[in-house]
Structures are given as structure tokens and as C-alpha cells.
Amino acid sequence: MRHDLFISGFGGQGVLLAGNLLSYAAIREGKNVSFFPAYGVEKRGGAAMCTVIIADGEVGSPVVGNPSVSVLLNQLSFDKYYPKVASGGICIVNTSLVDTAGHVRSDVELIAIPMNEIANSLGDPRMVNMVAVGAYAAKSGAVSIKAVEDALSDALPERNHRFIPANVKAIAAGADRTV
């Protein structure tokens, strides 16, 4: 199997951490992974994107033109990258910040999740990315939720390991929204 995922948002939303976490989870499951980040020169507020490829065999190109799954966290990303999702693919959208009206594609499954609201209800708006990761893992089956939870200790620096339980909740909340 080969899963390709494109995540896009603005700097500060945790796009790169989300991609990293999924990569570590896939490595824990013995798979091959490439994680390719791209971001603006700004530290915050600029565009942040990453492409994650998870494969049993050779990863191949770390770049994908038409991803089979896209996770889009803000309006700018949605406007730019929704049209690029592969036909028959899936688009997971943060509807807290994205208005999808007037952009419906019949050949792409759109999963609308108000990620900011969910993150806020869990007590921290910074967990938008974890909600997104949970939704992706549950929907695609590219990695198990268990592997993602375990991989938190790989992806987060030691000083932030105290936040792991909160992140686990956010991942579960995201996963719940896809069933």
C-alpha cells in the first residue's frame, strides 16, 4: 500500500508537527516514509505545507501533484489546494476557518470538521493539528491511532511530553468525527 497526504495551513497551526507525527507513527509500524516540508520565510503567519508518503515498498517521489488525501486548515490552503485533490480522493477541511460554499466537487469526499471549536472545547486552540491527525489516521487507515499515540513521544521534544495526554484526547476527538 502507498498513502500520500498533503497538509496545508498557516505557520503556527502545527502543520509540520502533524506531518512529523504521522511519519513517526508509520515508522513505528515498520513502513517507509518521506516527510517533505515547505514553508514561507516567515516564522508565523506564512504558508506552511508538508507532504507525507507512507509506503510498504519504495516511497518514490516525495512530491505529489494530486494528493489522494489533503488536510486543509485555512481558507487560503482550501482555495489553492482543494482543486488539486486527486479524483476519487478525500479532503479533510477545518471548517472553523474555511468556508467551503460554492466549491463542491462531486469526485472528492469532503470531510468537514470544525477543528478550532473542537480544540477550544478541549482547552487549547493549539491542538487543531492533533484533531486533524486523528481524523486523517481514522479515515485513511494509513496508520493506527495507537501508533499515532505512541509516536507522540518521538515527535514531541521531551519538555512537551507532559502535554501528551491532552494530545491523545484531541486525536481521539478528531478520529470520532470521521465515523
Binding site: 518521506s34 516527510f35 517533505f36 520565510v41 518514490g60 517521489s61 516525495p62 512530491v63 505529489v64 494530486n66
Partner: protein
């Protein structure tokens, strides 16, 4: 089996340098390669290494020259404008027959350009870059594992041939993360460094490391000697990867990140029943000319793909057999200009459709 480590290409370079015995690094930060100095600044103190963030790129390349003259394994790294600044020092190192590893994680140019991946510094890297008609060894990794393996190789080749070696990648390969196996340093037979200048013992001959050669015929002899060495490199050290080329009617050629993207397109074309292969140079200097020559005895068309308007294509043209048709597809560097496998797949289809035998220049 050794545990896999999930690291950035840049981090793999730094890990390999440590494994290769490098304990001297001099650099100045610039995106997209700053993970290299960051890693070494963190790891060197515990290893007894010497990490210096120099006041400029010019200072750091000259520190590399000095360290190499003392016989230690040393490295610097930079990108775009920083590599331009280092050219004078690289020329002095070449003139002084000094080893040393320079890592170039290319970004857009000219000028300040931007931080996205580029292959438009191919000429700068493979033609020497500075003054005086020298060449340096140039290795082009296409994966994070190769960033690790080829950095170690760069140290060995640099010591064996007594010339600077460059690890030549870009923002894609430098910043992407993959799981690698950090293999131990391979065994290599290295020549004794009987030329190093570390202070003269009484009764021993004086050693001098310099690039100034004023004697009658001295510089000419040096040039011919280096010329011979470049030939030897070509014979012994040319490296490349061939994928599905045996029965191919079209061979795609690309290096580094472009090759990585192209390989997926070639695999898709094979799945669709097209007879397509890939030839990926791993050494850019020495250029694996023999691979192209042999290949074009059986395959008459090449599709060259670069993240530039075409530079390696000159070396491809010089290497193929007469009458070979060469198509070119380039995406000059910049935000949003990275080609996709889907895009290259279309180029492969077009190239297979039309065998024009026109001069490749008509494609520009």
C-alpha cells in the same frame, strides 16, 4: 538490523560527518542548510570537536583551508549566496591540493533569490566555481540515506584525490525527512597525509602548503598533473544509478531531487506499459559519461529533467552517441515551481509520441 533513524537530509549530513571522523566545522547560517551547523553545534562539544560560527562565509572557507592544511577532516556548508562567497577559498584549496568537504544545499538565485530548491548551481559546482580552471568532486544525493552515505564518501574521495569535495543537494533533499540506517564508516585505504603542516621538527624537511607557483613551468606542470587526476577520477569514481534501462526506448535522466520525482513518473509509465527507464548520475564531477555512451548504443532518446533551464544537459550532450535525440523539460527554481510526478509522466508520454531527430536546441 540497525535501528532506523527518522532525520532530515541536513541532519544526515551532520551525522555522517561525525561518523567519518570530522571534528572541525566552520560555517555561517543560511536557509535551507542551517540544520547542519545546528546539529554539529549541539553534538561537537561532547565529542571534543571544534565548531565555529565564523563571521562570514569567506572566513569559514578559509578556516576549512587552514584545518585541512593541518591534516584534520573538516567541513563547511552553505547555500546560494554563501557558496558564491566561498569560491575564492575553494580555488585556493584546489590550488594548494587540499582536501575538505563543502556541503551545498542549493536554493534559488541569482542574488538573494529565495529558499526553495534549485539545480541552477550545477555549472557553479561542476565547473570549479572559482578562478583558475580547477574542478572539485561533486556528489549528488537523491535521498536522506544517500545524504549520509555520500557525505562519508566525500571525505574519503577528498582525502584520496587531495582536492575539495562537494555534497550537492537542494532544499528538497536537505529538508525532507526519511528513515535511514546510520551505517558505520566503511573501510577505506587512504594515503598518508605526509604533506600536512603542523610545525617542523628539527632535522625534518620543510613543508609548504600554498597555491602560489612562480617557478618556470611550475604552474603548467601542476595543471597537467591535475588534468591527469581528473581523468583518473573519471575512470575510477564515476557513479550512477540505472533503473529499468535494459529494454527502454526512452531514458529519463535527472539528478538529485529531480531524479527522485522523475523515478515515480518512470514507475507509473512502466505500469502503463511504456518502455521507459531512468539514468541518474550520482557523481556530477566526474560526470558518468560512459553510462550515457553505453546506454545510447541501444536507446536513441533521452529526456533530461532539471530544476533549471538546462545545465547538466550540456554534459549529457557531450556524453551520448552521435544521433541521439535529447528532449529537455526544465522547471527553473522558485516558490510553486517544483515539478510533480504527474507532470513528468505527461512529458514522458509526449517524448515517446514524437521522435523528431531535430537538434535539441530547437527545444529552447
Amino acid at each position: 538490523m540497525q535501528a532506523r533513524k527518522f532525520v532530515k537530509g541536513n541532519e544526515a549530513v551532520a551525522m555522517a560527518a561525525i561518523e567519518a571522523g570530522c571534528r572541525h566545522y566552520f560555517g555561517y547560517p543560511i536557509t535551507p542548510q542551517s540544520d547542519i551547523p545546528e546539529y554539529l553545534a549541539r553534538e561537537f562539544p561532547a565529542l571534543g570537536g571544534e565548531f565555529i560560527q565564523a563571521e562570514s562565509e569567506i572566513a569559514s572557507i578559509n578556516m576549512l583551508l587552514g584545518a585541512s592544511a593541518c591534516g584534520v577532516r573538516a567541513m563547511t556548508s552553505s547555500s546560494g549566496p554563501g557558496i558564491s562567497l566561498k569560491q575564492e577559498g575553494i580555488s585556493y584549496m584546489a590550488g594548494s591540493e587540499l582536501p575538505g568537504v563543502i556541503v551545498d544545499i542549493c536554493r534559488q538565485g541569482p542574488g538573494l533569490g529565495g529558499i526553495d530548491a534549485s539545480q541552477a548551481d550545477y555549472f557553479q559546482a561542476t565547473r570549479g566555481g572559482g578562478h583558475g580552471g580547477y574542478r572539485i568532486i561533486v556528489l549528488a544525493p537523491a535521498s536522506v540515506q544517500e545524504m549520509y552515505d555520500l557525505t562519508m564518501l566525500a571525505f574519503d574521495l577528498s582525502d584520496i584525490y587531495r582536492m575539495p569535495a562537494m555534497v550537492f543537494a537542494d532544499a528538497v533533499i536537505g529538508q525532507m525527512k526519511e528513515a535511514i540506517i546510520p551505517n558505520p564508516r566503511p573501510a577505506a585505504t587512504l594515503p598518508a597525509k605526509d604533506w600536512v603542516v603542523r610545525g617542523r621538527k628539527e632535522g625534518t624537511e620543510q613543508r609548504v602548503v600554498k597555491s602560489l607557483k612562480l617557478g618556470d613551468g611550475e604552474m603548467e606542470a601542476f595543471h597537467w598533473q591535475m588534468h591527469e587526476r581528473y581523468h583518473e577520477l573519471q575512470e575510477k569514481e564515476s557513479r550512477w544509478e540505472e533503473f529499468e534501462t535494459a529494454d527502454a526506448t526512452l531514458v529519463v535522466t535527472a539528478f538529485g531531487s529531480a531524479a527522485r520525482i522523475a523515478k515515480s513518473a518512470v514507475m507509473a509509465a512502466r505500469e502503463a506499459g511504456m518502455k521507459v527507464g531512468l539514468l541518474r548520475p550520482i557523481t556530477l564531477f566526474p560526470f558518468p559519461a560512459k553510462a550515457y555512451h553505453d546506454l545510447t548504443g541501444r536507446c536513441r532518446k533521452i529526456l533530461d529533467i532539471e530544476l533549471s533551464t538546462g545545465q547538466m544537459i550540456d554534459d549529457v550532450r557531450l556524453s551520448v552517441q552521435p544521433g541521439t535525440e535529447i528532449d529537455f523539460y526544465g522547471r527553473p527554481p522558485g516558490a510553486g515551481s517544483l515539478p510533480t510526478p504527474e507532470e513528468i509522466f505527461e512529458q514522458i508520454k509526449n517524448a515517446l509520441l514524437i521522435f523528431t531527430n531535430l537538434s535539441p536546441f530547437t527545444r529552447f
